[in-house]
């Protein structure tokens, strides 16, 4: 009897181990990386002079996208600890002040669908037609009310595709946003991503959505190294290349963001991690 029981147990254990392990869906957790020290836009951008803008505060390092059932979690890590230098509680904010991250998602990789212009406020920059974005997640220190109002007023045509997270917070060097899946859809291996690092500006230009401008000469609250007209991309850091984090991606970013006023517009490349 004991022998039989032992055999059954052994068989069950063997079956359990022998059962084909169901391969985890790779789109359940996606990690994208970006090299350190490329928080210079097309290569020459410099931070504003105010001491609040500490070094590496806009240096994108990694992005993690995780399927958590009914929600999707985005984790964006930068090079410095995230501080709440302007006490965001006072303006119904999310516990940090400086950063503003825009996560562009191409869900179909097809030309003719989606938007090729980014959200207003990134200066002159475009996505390629076949890399147009379909969804955009905003990780901002601003409260939902301000964000939704800005998008409604300044980006009416994009409004239905802009997703404001249910929850946004900072943890160490990481910004975390939780988005309802019903607002974004189910991530698949076809999805492409671009993550743009900008700075939160509470008093933006009248056409910009809460972004800080890049001028030729940096100011107390203005990035420098760009152009005083709007022909430069107001992108401080972003993903490039294959988003593995190697040094060549810094060069790829600088190249993609090159611009010549009235002649050449910077490009925001979409990264397709499974292609």
């Amino acid at each position: 009897m004991h022998r039989k029981v032992a055999l059954v147990v052994t068989a069950l254990i063997a079956m359990a181990f022998a059962a084909p392990v169901q391969a985890a869906d790779p789109a359940k957790k996606i990690t994208l990386k970006d090299p350190a020290g490329d928080d210079k836009g097309p290569g020459k951008y410099v931070y504003p002079t105010d001491p609040a803008y500490t070094a590496k505060s806009f240096d994108l390092r990694s992005v993690q996208i995780k399927d958590k059932g009914s929600s999707i979690e985005f984790k964006v890590t930068i090079g410095a600890r995230i501080k709440d230098v302007w006490n965001s509680k006072d303006w119904d904010g999310n516990g940090f002040s400086l950063q503003f991250v825009q996560i562009y998602i191409d869900t179909n990789h097809k030309a003719g669908k989606g938007h090729t212009r980014p959200l207003p406020g990134l200066g002159s920059a475009n996505f390629k037609a076949d890399e147009a974005w379909d969804k955009l997640v905003l990780i901002s220190p601003q409260g939902k009310l301000r964000l939704s109002s800005e998008v409604r007023y300044k980006a009416k045509k994009m409004r239905k595709d802009v997703v404001i997270p249910r929850k946004t917070k900072a943890r160490g060097k990481t910004l975390i946003a939780i988005v309802k899946k019903k607002d974004l859809g189910q991530p698949t291996k076809d999805w492409g991503f671009q993550v743009v690092m900008q700075s939160n500006e509470g008093y933006p230009d009248k056409k910009d959505i809460l972004t800080r401008r890049v001028n030729e000469i940096r100011g107390q609250h203005r990035f420098g190294g760009g152009h005083d007209s709007n022909c430069d991309p107001h992108v401080i850091d972003m993903l490039a290349g294959k988003a593995k984090g190697d040094a060549s991606e810094a060069r790829a970013q600088f190249a993609a963001l090159q611009y010549v006023c009235k002649k050449k517009v910077a490009t925001l490349p979409m990264i397709y991690p499974f292609k």
Binding site: P51, S70, L145, R152, R159, G172, G219
Partner: protein, 641 residues
């Protein structure tokens, strides 16, 4: 070339030229403007645009019924690649719409009539230059910029020189040099000389004016000097030093060259020459009041999610009693300084870890020990907070007697002085994975370095006259005609042996309803015990302060948010106020407020509305009971372009 083609080319060239010059203009010169309108209503007969005005002077604009507007212009220019400049011009806030045509004249003394010349400049909405600055980047080694002019002084900290309150933001002026030395981990520095405001930084809230000890106050050479150093030796370590010194100089009244000299001819009353006295067209100066405040702060990251911040602060004040009258003695104990030379220390250490196990659980703990005579005379006055605890009042704690809970409306938070506080706070936060629940639990234990028996509050330590009872900041009046409780600056008492505990539990739950529905809730309990005199009759104070709040908020449309809430307070206070001679009374307070809030943000317009009903019943043992049934509202509207 055909005529039409030539015309087209000419137009094209012209338009290019216009575009180029427009671009140059934009890059060199920016103008921003703002209009702010506020409407207060209250079911009383006060008239004005501000619930609490200046406690010291009648400012003619405070009151609960009124609507008025303010307009400001901000100019910023790039003079060259190396020089920036800016200015702000703003109208005086105080003219009610009903004032209609006031010119600023006061042709009828203090009598107000229907002419346009009776209420003065405070109600005339005149435009005033609020601040100017020039900033130069000299392209010299080690210097990033030199700034001359206005600054909000936000580069220091509340323990030394505080960021100026919002209404004062351009009033601070000085010389500032900022730069860095070294390569990868440079030493960053800032040197500053800041003009001392004639109001507030010194005994009698002044740098001489109004001090009965001075016949001819001299305030035009009063400065604060400051230096900050910041060094980041490694990625995770930051060391910061801030040192400041204030000097209020006054003339030697015996100097024959001084205005109003007691020895103008260097002769005594009998006509004899005074030895050593000789006019030389130079006036000797003495320091009436001087203060030093310095902090050393170390911030150390411990891995990805944890860190420690530690701060040591030093405070010193020196008073020349020949040039400073005793404000404690002569001003009913209302003074921003202890009337003697002082030296004291403060320490604070905070540990914080943000969800280290990724279970949604974060934790902060803080130890603080602030000396009983620490005082940041030029420190943060409000809109800042140095401690983790919610404290008694909920609006922040600052290490100064110079708090500025004035020029506020009833919906604003109050700061309290933490001089002498010694204790610890623990704060645990839980956020669930879906991000729709957040719960915080906070506990603070407090003892007080200001505990003393028979402390001299008659001539040395200011007690701010009204030092008993839990403070009602929503029904506050400076003269305390309505028994509003302790002045938030009252840290010294004749007899004190006090221990306090504060527990706060608060949370928010988001619901998937409509565009987003949030339920906020809060419960707070304060156990406040003060044995007061340790001898003699029973005067022990025991306060059980209970507070509960509930708020339901919903975004009903893009840019529109409404909220409905209530706050219920019950305060049970044994031996709440009185004296040993007259005895003390046990008092109870019921306080309920219900409010409706709305905010609207659209196309650059921001508007807010707050309507509340407040019922308060104060049941007093030794005095008659008091009742409040107050309706009040505040509406604001702001556009900037």
């Amino acid at each position: 070339m055909q005529y039409r083609t030539r015309i087209a080319v000419a137009i094209g060239i012209a338009s290019l030229t216009v575009a180029a010059s427009a671009r140059a203009d934009l890059s060199k010169f920016d103008i921003g403007a703002k209009i702010y309108t506020k409407h207060l209503t209250t079911n009383d007969d006060t008239q004005g645009l501000l619930w609490r005005g200046n406690p010291f002077w009648a400012d003619q604009i405070k009151g609960g019924n009124g609507v008025g507007s303010e307009f400001e212009l901000n100019f910023k220019g790039r003079v060259s690649d190396f020089v920036l400049a800016g200015a702000r011009v703003s109208s005086r806030f105080g003219e009610r719409w009903q004032d209609y045509w006031e010119s600023g004249n006061r042709m009828y003394g203090n009598k107000i009539n229907t002419s346009g010349d009776s209420v003065g400049m405070n109600r005339a909405s005149y435009m005033k230059l609020r601040g100017t600055w020039i900033q130069v980047s000299p392209q010299a080694y080690g210097i990033d910029y030199i700034r001359i002019g206005s600054s909000d002084l936000g580069m220091f900290n509340p323990w030394t020189i505080g960021r100026l309150r919002f209404i004062d933001r351009d009033n601070g002026k000085g010389y500032f040099v900022s730069g860095h030395i070294g390569g990868d981990n440079p030493l960053q520095y800032l040197l500053a000389a800041v003009a001392l405001p004639k109001l507030w930084v010194g005994p009698w809230w002044s740098t001489g004016l109004g001090d009965p000890a001075l016949q001819n106050p001299f305030w035009s050479a009063d400065w604060a000097y400051a230096a900050t150093l910041r060094w980041q030796p490694t990625d995770g370590t930051t060391i910061r030093f801030v040192g400041t010194m204030t000097r209020d100089l006054e003339v030697d009244p015996a100097d024959p060259d001084a205005l109003g000299s007691t020895n103008p001819g260097c002769k005594d009353k009998l006509g004899h020459s005074i030895p050593g006295c000789q006019a030389d067209h130079a006036v000797d100066l003495y320091t009436r009041y001087g203060a030093i405040n310095a902090t050393l702060e170390i911030e150390q990251e411990l891995g990805e999610t944890s860190r420690i911040d530690a701060l040591v602060a030093y405070s010193q004040q020196r008073i020349d009693e020949n040039m400073t009258a005793n404000g404690v003695k002569l001003n009913q104990g209302i003074s921003p300084v202890v009337y003697k030379n002082t030296d004291d220390l403060a320490v604070k250490a905070r540990f914080a870890t943000d969800d280290p196990l990724e279970w949604g659980l974060s934790f902060k703990a803080e130890y603080f020990n602030i000396g009983s005579e620490y005082n940041a005379i030029f420190g943060g006055r409000r809109e800042a907070d140095v401690l983790l605890t919610e404290g008694f009042l909920g609006g922040g704690q600052l290490p100064t007697l110079n708090l500025a809970n004035e020029f506020v409306d009833w919906d604003e938070q109050w700061v309290e002085s933490c001089i002498g506080w010694h204790g610890a706070t623990a704060l645990a936060t839980f956020e669930n994975e879906d991000g729709d629940i957040k719960i915080e639990l906070e506990y603070t234990f407090l003892r007080f370095n200001t505990d003393a028996q028979n402390r001299d509050v008659d001539s040395l330590y200011p007690d701010f006259l009204h030092s008993d009872g839990y403070t009602d900041t929503g029904l506050y009046d400076y003269a305390n005609v309505s028994d509003r409780g302790r002045d938030p600056r009252s840290v010294y008492h004749r007899n004190q042996w006090r221990r306090s505990q504060i527990v706060v539990l608060r949370g928010v739950k988001q619901f998937d309803a409509g565009r987003g529905l949030e339920l906020h809730w809060k419960a707070k309990y304060i156990l406040d015990k003060d044995f007061r005199s340790l001898e003699g009759p029973d005067d022990d104070y025991v306060g059980h302060i209970l507070q509960g709040g509930l708020k339901l908020a919903a975004i009903v449309s893009d840019g529109v948010k409404v909220a409905l809430g209530t706050r219920v307070d019950r305060w049970f206070e044994e031996n709440r106020r009185g004296t040993l001679e007259l005895g003390y009374g046990d008092d109870e307070t019921e306080r309920i407020s219900t409010y409706l809030q709305a905010s609207y943000s659209f196309g650059g317009l921001r508007a807010g509305y707050h309507l509340e009903y407040l019922h308060k019943n104060q049941i007093r043992e030794r005095e008659s009971d008091q009742l409040w049934n107050v309706w009040r509202s505040k509406a604001t509207m702001e556009v900037a372009w």
